[in-house]
Amino acid sequence: MKYFKWISLFLIAALAVSAVAAKIKLVVWCGGGTEREGLEAAIVEYKKQNPDVEFELVDVPYAQYEQKVRLGIMSGDLPDLVTITYPYAPGYMQYMIDLRPYIQKHLGITPDQYLKAMYDVTAVRIVDTKGEIRYVPLHFTMQCLWVNADYFKKAKIPFPPFGGRSEPWTWEEFVDVLKKVKEANNLPYAMSMQRTAERLFCYLGIRGVKILDENLEFMLDKDPRAKQVLEEFISLFKENLMVPAEWIAAQDPNMAFTGGLTAVLWAGSWSTLDLLKAEKNFVPAYLPKDAEWLSCEGGRFFGAFKTGKQDREEAAAKFALWIGWKGLGYDIYLKKTYHMSAYKEHEVDYDKEVMKQVQAVCGRLAEVTPNWVVTVRNSTVYSRLQTPIVSQMSAVIAGQMNLDEAIKNIRKEYEKLVAELGGKK
């Protein structure tokens, strides 16, 4: 068996894998792709200043991120640092160290000053009920519109704020714009939107309807306007203004938008890098303004797990504050990933012009967004209600269910959750 030789060669090679570490080595769990690249770039700089620290970045598949974190917490095999997407962040706060003492020590400012430096909507996310600071913002995202400027030019329609119009559209105007731009360019649809509860929340919020109110009370069957506003959302699909496949079959909205089948993409600042790759004339624009003007923020946070090892926690907190504070590692990370800063009046000099527009549009939207948008979405009830909301709405759009039934189902799911969590959390 001549193949036996290379089989055994591989055996030996694989057994020879070894790693010896003498200095402090911080293990960081992060998402793959650009997030990893951003962290790597920042770490290179950090190691120049702190040669005694080593890093091991472990990228975790995005779809299984939470599973991995939970299994880690359950078994106690935890990394020193972890990046966490915003909807999951509150659930894991209690396992993170309090960063307040380190803020004073490494940044030379009080925790209060630290919180004041960032957008209010971000500050809400990182502070727990006792006022302890458990995360630093890694990047910050905001929903906004992206428009295909060529289509808008052809239809001779101005768009806000970089397309010859300063004020946001009202909802009525917006629907009208969608119809016109579709017609003028002979498109099959007008707007793409990923199927998420977050987009729906944002749409409803703009129309003055809350899924959950400030007391986390379920409102869709209480608010008399809710049904009407949802009906209007569904009719956007029926009129082929929005793409049914996106909400029925979870089709990637970037495909229709970059493929030129739609003129508007309801997405956000995080889409910048993807849209840049399409090499088309895409410009960020304001979300419409109706009863309210608001947007939903999001992003990744960076936290240091309580590992019980003093020196490691110390080193982890130091690095977290270095990469999470403007002007330090933060800028390196943002420039690499084309994400927005979570800090107010923080100018990052990106090498792409479009990022300035993104910052202007999303920064403005962040300013006008009221706090309840964050506090409600920061609750466990809402974060667990997202899946049922999406499936039920998708069933309605597919014509499998009527709206009343769907709302009733979501209400049932809500009550189950409240019972399970032992209150509205």
Binding site: F10, V17, G31, G33, T34, D59, Q64, D77, D274
Partner: protein, 270 residues
């Protein structure tokens, strides 16, 4: 006439089956811009190696390849041995609860890996196999489909064969090696190919066991590229997955050569 019908059938099926495969390989040679363009292109308009370059540049492919090969090869050897022996034992052995045990094997066919994921993780951890390539091998040695295939195959071996050898005074061990094992060549070929494919494409165990980049397997690396926020570099993913298929293809052709040839040429002597 029958030959032509057969040929036409094969060609039609081949075209149908290869369409998605072709499309994915063709797309791996497209730029990201072209992948996202409409109408879809059947042939890459501006063939580019961008996906492949990205896949190889960002990833430590060689390490992952080495890990995956180690796991797949070792696991396949152990799986094939235990399955052939186990299939023989369960099909031809005598013991109390034989039917129950065989039914149990059928039941294991229906277990979804993700369902037993959490307790499996606890067991693997107790055994100290976290961050250890053996943690990707040992839990996967018993494969329901492999075991069931082996049992069904062994059932087809006539009992008279074994009995006559026994009358001749051969030991159980000798019967297995001298009679059953050689008769099992097609089974071994099939099991090797299956087991290799399963381990090669396994994603659940690496996800549970591996917390170190130096121990990543190809499938774990592939899952990681899919990245965050819908920003999915499809050309890189398709390039990567095209690259991962090649070794399995080689194994497939190799094992067919090894094991399947001897059989039909010589024919089985019943």
């Amino acid at each position: 006439m029958a030959r032509y019908i057969k040929l036409i059938f094969l060609i039609v099926m081949l075209l149908l089956y290869m369409l998605p495969v072709y499309y994915s390989i063709a797309s791996s040679f497209k730029g990201l811009k072209e992948i996202y363009s409409y109408p879809p292109t059947v042939f890459p308009q501006n063939p580019s190696l961008q996906g492949y370059i990205e896949a190889l540049r960002k990833q430590d492919m060689l390490t992952y390849l080495r890990n995956t090969l180690f796991v797949a090869v070792v696991a396949t050897i152990i799986t094939v041995m235990t399955s052939v022996m186990g299939g023989y034992g369960l099909a031809k052995g005598t013991f109390i609860g034989k039917i129950t045990l065989n039914r149990l094997v059928v039941m294991t066919l229906f277990i979804t890996a993700q369902v037993i994921m959490v307790p499996l993780f606890v067991i693997i951890r107790r055994l100290g196999l976290i961050n250890n390539l053996w943690g990707l091998i040992l839990p996967a040695v018993y494969t329901p489909t492999g075991m069931f295939t082996a049992i069904q195959y062994m059932r087809d071996i006539p009992d008279e064969f074994l009995e006559s050898a026994k009358v001749d005074g051969a030991s159980e061990w000798a019967i297995f090696w001298k009679i059953v094992f050689p008769l099992s060549k097609p089974l071994i070929a099939a099991l090797s190919i299956f087991s290799f494919t399963w381990r090669w494409n396994d994603f659940v165990l690496p996800l549970l066991v591996v917390n170190k980049r130096s121990l990543y397997t190809l499938q774990l690396a592939l899952a990681v590229i899919q990245g965050e926020f819908g920003g999915t570099p499809w050309n890189t993913i398709l390039a990567f997955s095209t690259l991962t298929i090649i070794p399995t293809l080689v194994i497939f052709l190799l094992f067919q050569r090894f094991f399947m040839r001897g059989i039909t040429a010589g024919g089985l002597k019943y």
